[in-house]
């Protein structure tokens, strides 16, 4: 049971990490059409 819950929590953490990485890539591109706003979690 503990292993099952641990795997589940890891997937949630993976989501946050990958989203931050992709948002950083978009910000670094500075392309407004892709959603670069100067702020990591703002898209417009």
């Amino acid at each position: 049971m503990k292993l099952a819950l641990f795997i589940w929590v890891c997937t949630i953490a993976t989501s946050v990490v990958l989203t931050v990485i992709v948002c950083k890539i978009i910000e670094k591109s500075k392309v407004k059409r892709w959603g670069a706003t100067g702020s990591l979690f703002k898209y417009e």
Partner: protein, 517 residues
């Protein structure tokens, strides 16, 4: 009619009224074919999260997952919950690439056509992918109708074989407005699902006496799944692999994780948001919104085993949620939870039907006729008729359901992963990926997966993914590189006029219409 039945019907009628209001409001938004299929690529974050949550939470999640938790315990958390969560966690890898083009594609087969056959008038790739999608989504819709029938039978007492026809009433409502109608009703449904599951979970906790009592009960239970069946080995419900075995559980996990990662309905969802970052954020917030929903489902599934150790003969584990609510919850709480289950079935079914119909009408019929400028109004009207027709067929096919809900989803996701994984992933990340390699990977993936399932191979998806990768690498070695128009939109901020012209031709649009989109 009992007092409980009257309360069920009143709350169900209120739900229908709410849906009608939402659909009437959203109908004003329908303007073009793009609006009908992907909301015109201008969806904001809030509506995007609402519609993604509601599509994500299907009957496979709200009825199938508690059913498998009841059947096998913790293993269902690894196989289904973690599998689907890993898929959602990996989505950012695809979201920003899919939504990167200035004029995005409108359907999944159209996306693969641009990537692999940008210069053909009638694309065999678009048609083949659409036909494969059609089969998969028809099975998905069929499973939602089965879930709907189980719950509608509990609410109204109408036998299952007739209850499934109630699905057509709601289908007519939600599918008349296309994507915006589906998105609006999905957002209402997402709120209902969360609320209904929370009250259902509280009911189970109060009936069992809390999490401690549930864990104690499932640690020692040997009660068979159905009355008179074979007893379970003691302690099996708390083991990581349950009654599956490690190989079979890994196969389920990988099908749910990698298969749904490239499922066409999710790829199409990524084309709808305003921009690439909105598409990426949409999936993270969706996943975080799903956490409380799945905590409730896990407590519900395990708690059900403590409350009702064995199911009556003739009932599958998909019935566990309606049965528990009907027996243990006060009428209003039970009605709210049952309406939430209906909402889950409806919200996923209407979305699946939209994909199913679009693939058949737009990616097969229109693609075969090769129309240069499509009549938008006629296309939208024809698509509505297609949705209705397929809905009726899905209901008829559900009269005798052959599969358990959650396992049915796993099979279709496994097929999608086997067939589309490399064509999608390498298509948006590797400029060298070409038409020949895509065909080889799709063909090997399809044949291997079907053969593996038929012969009972333990992990057909993993085998398909490995063999199709080897095949595509060999095909790449002996075939020319793709033209610039095939990949430019997925790698560059601005594309050449020739690439833009190609995209607009594939979308059956004049240049001016394309600029608007």
């Amino acid at each position: 009619m009992s007092e409980r039945a009257i309360i069920y019907i009143v709350i169900f009628a209120g739900y229908i009224g709410f849906m009608v209001w939402g659909v009437l409001k959203s109908l004003r938004q329908v303007e073009s074919f793009s609006d009908f299929t992907t909301g015109g690529h201008r969806m904001g974050l809030l509506l995007g999260v609402g519609t993604s949550v509601a599509t994500w939470v299907s009957v496979a999640s709200v009825m199938g997952v508690p059913g498998y938790l009841y059947r096998t315990g913790a293993a269902a958390i690894i196989g289904w919950v973690s599998g689907w969560f890993l898929c959602t966690a990996l989505f950012p890898i695809l979201t920003y690439k899919i939504r990167m083009p200035k004029v995005p594609m409108r359907t999944f087969p159209e996306l693969l056509r641009l990537r692999y056959e940008p210069h053909t008038d009638r694309s065999p790739m678009q048609i083949t992918v659409a036909l494969l999608m059609f089969v998969g989504y028809f099975i998905f819709t069929h499973l939602q109708v089965v879930g709907f029938g189980i719950v509608f039978n509990t609410i109204t007492g109408i036998p299952y074989e007739y209850a499934i026809f109630g699905f057509l009433l709601i289908l007519v409502l939600t599918c008349s407005g296309g994507f915006w109608s589906v998105a609006a009703s999905d957002t209402i449904n997402a709120i209902l699902i969360l609320f209904g599951l929370v009250v259902g979970c509280v009911t189970v906790l109060s009936a069992t006496g809390g999490v401690g009592n549930i864990m104690e009960a499932i640690a020692t239970t040997t009660a068979p799944i159905n009355e008179g069946g074979e007893p379970l080995p003691p302690g099996i419900m708390l083991t990581a692999t349950g009654s599956f075995g490690a190989g079979a559980l890994f196969s389920i996990f990988i099908s749910n994780a990698l298969g749904s990662f490239v499922a066409p309905h999710w790829i199409t969802r990524f084309m709808a948001p305003k921009n690439a970052k909105a598409a990426t954020l949409q999936m993270m917030w969706t996943l975080l919104f799903l956490v409380p929903i799945f905590i409730c489902l896990i407590i519900f599934g395990l708690g059900a085993k403590a409350l009702l150790p064995s199911l009556p003969v003739g009932k599958t584990t998909d019935y566990i949620m309606p049965l528990i609510m009907d027996q243990y919850a006060p009428p209003i709480v039970a009605a709210l939870t049952l309406v939430a289950l209906l909402a889950a079935a409806v919200s996923t079914a209407n979305s699946m039907l939209l994909h199913c119909s679009t693939s058949l009408y737009y990616d097969v019929y229109i693609a075969l006729h090769g129309r240069k400028n499509m009549d938008q109004a006629q296309a939208t009207r024809s698509l509505r008729f297609c949705v209705m027709g397929l809905g009726i067929l899905a209901v008829i096919s559900a009269i005798k359901p052959p599969l358990l809900l959650a396992m049915g989803f796993t099979y279709v996701y496994g097929a999608f992963g086997s067939v589309f994984l490399w064509a999608v992933l390498l298509g948006v990340y590797w400029k060298k990926m070409n038409r020949q390699a895509a065909y080889v990977s799709i063909l090997i993936g399809f044949v291997t997966y079907i053969s593996g399932r038929v012969t009972g191979f333990v992990n057909p998806m993993l085998l398909s993914v490995i063999l199709s990768f080897i095949g595509l690498m060999l095909a790449l070695k002996f075939s020319p590189p793709p033209p610039l128009e095939a990949y430019e939109a997925f790698f560059e901020e601005d594309v050449s006029p020739k690439t833009m012209q190609t995209i607009l031709r594939i979308r059956h649009e004049e240049e001016t219409q394309g600029e608007k989109a």
